[in-house]
């Protein structure tokens, strides 16, 4: 595949890794947080971990929308389906995520709830057009990559005056989460691999404050293995030089200012939400968006009077600490025993992007060998 295969050349990967091993100073550590779950999986799937010297380590970040969505939001969606007889449309990622009381959207569907998996928000809109007698709610989650499509669909619904369509908005923002992790200082971070596709929308300059304030270098990296390894080399060089700036490795898709059209669409439809709860990070100010009052008719939270539900996480699950970069998944006592991708207890094991799922799918034998 063009723009994929060229960035998976094993010989180049070895050469870049050799440069990293040559340039990483043996007397210091390079703790690099890959913010995005897509990078976590690339690192494990392509064996990038094994190419690194021992002092270059990856810390997994919270960049997995499914993982950071609190169980209470899923419970609120289930309640909505069961009490209001609505059709709930959701991205498939959310179906198996544990809500409170051992429930999930999948279980609610099995009980008879009309919950439908969609590929796109436009599919949810089509379902609303085809079922005018029923209320259709789109369960919107995701970082800035996924927010503009939701904004586009809300605008279309508004133009069509579609009265049976609304959105349960859970869109979150990347820079505030990054700032929070750096300000908390729990995870010692020397450099950050910046998200690929979030950055196509918000642009590389969106991270400048983060780098300046916390004196940490950030390199926006593509998702292919050579992108990741080249970005690690760029971070090692910045750390060695004592620099803390934003660099862009993924220049083929990311510009300094990002996608202005997508940004203005988001600004037209959404506004800053004062507070939003993140799984693992707690309640963060100005870290998510909500639907503007001009589009209030399409806000499911307002239309159905949805209330916040507080839900405790599964006992023993350390997903919150994993999301903050404090612990590795295999340090959880549920990992690989009570909690597997087939029977997940925590969100990081459910999501195809979750750090626990990455460890389980690609890293559990390595961990076992290193302990042996």
């Amino acid at each position: 595949m063009k723009f994929v295969d060229e960035y998976r050349d094993g010989d180049v990967a070895q050469l870049l890794a050799r440069l990293i091993r040559q340039e990483a100073k043996p007397d210091r550590n390079y703790r690099l947080m890959e913010f995005c779950g897509g990078h976590t999986h690339a690192i494990f799937r392509f064996g990038i971990v094994d190419l690194m010297p021992d002092n270059v380590r990856f810390i997994h970040g919270p960049g997995c929308p499914v993982c950071v969505l609190p169980a209470g939001r899923i419970e609120a969606a289930i309640k909505l389906v069961e009490e209001n007889d609505v059709i709930l449309c959701t991205y498939a990622d959310l179906m198996r995520v544990p809500a409170g009381k051992r429930d999930s959207l999948q279980k609610a569907k099995a009980r008879g709830g009309d919950i439908r998996m969609v590929y796109s928000a436009t599919d949810a809109l089509a379902i609303a057009q085809a079922n005018r007698e029923k209320q259709v709610v789109f369960f919107a989650i995701g970082f800035e990559t996924t927010t503009p499509p939701t904004a586009a669909v809300l605008k279309i619904a508004n133009a069509m005056q579609l009265t049976n369509f609304s959105v349960f908005c859970n869109h979150v923002e990347t820079p505030p989460a990054m700032m929070h992790i750096l300000s908390a200082g729990e995870a010692k971070i020397d450099g950050i691999l910046g998200p690929s596709h979030v950055s196509t929308i918000i642009g590389s300059q969106a991270y400048a404050d983060c780098c300046d304030k916390y004196r940490v270098p950030l390199v926006i990296a593509g998702f292919e293995p050579l992108d990741v390894i080249q970005s690690v080399l760029m971070l090692v060089r910045q750390i060695n030089a004592g620099e803390a700036s934003v660099e862009n490795q993924y220049t083929r898709a990311v510009s300094k200012g990002g996608n202005k059209k997508a940004q203005s669409l988001m600004a037209e439809v959404f506004e800053q939400r004062p507070l939003f709860e993140w799984r693992g990070l707690g309640v963060l100010p100005e870290s998510a968006v909500q639907i503007r009052s001009e589009f209030a008719d399409f806000d499911a939270e307002k239309r159905f009077g949805m209330q916040a539900i507080a839900t405790a996480d599964i006992k023993g699950c350390i997903c919150p600490a994993v999301l903050r970069g404090m612990n590795n998944p295999d340090e959880c006592k549920l990992f690989g025993t009570a909690c597997t991708p087939e029977d997940p207890k925590g969100a990081c094991m459910v999501s195809s992007e979750g750090a626990c799922a990455a460890y389980y799918s690609y890293g559990r034998y390595r961990a076992a060998e290193s302990k042996a």
Partner: protein
């Protein structure tokens, strides 16, 4: 969640386009992009084209990799 795949634009129809992804053809919305032409590669995510892939910038990165290989061959 934020995974997006590069696909070739093969047909334009107003606010949407037909893209080809390794032989699979799918309709995608182009409302997030100002300029788009048949023959462009775009990143597709949840049914929307997020951004054009800049072939010039892509070539620059690959040229760096080629130089690295050449240097290694000489060493």
């Amino acid at each position: 969640m934020c995974l997006a795949v590069p696909a070739l634009v093969v047909e334009l129809n107003g606010d949407s386009a037909v893209v080809d992804l390794d032989g699979i053809r799918k309709e995608t919305s182009t409302v997030l992009l100002d300029e788009i032409a048949v023959g462009d590669y775009v990143l597709i995510h949840v049914g929307f084209a997020l951004e054009r892939i800049d072939p010039v910038e892509a070539a620059k990165t690959l040229k760096l990799f080629d130089e690295l290989k050449a240097m290694d061959a000489e060493a």
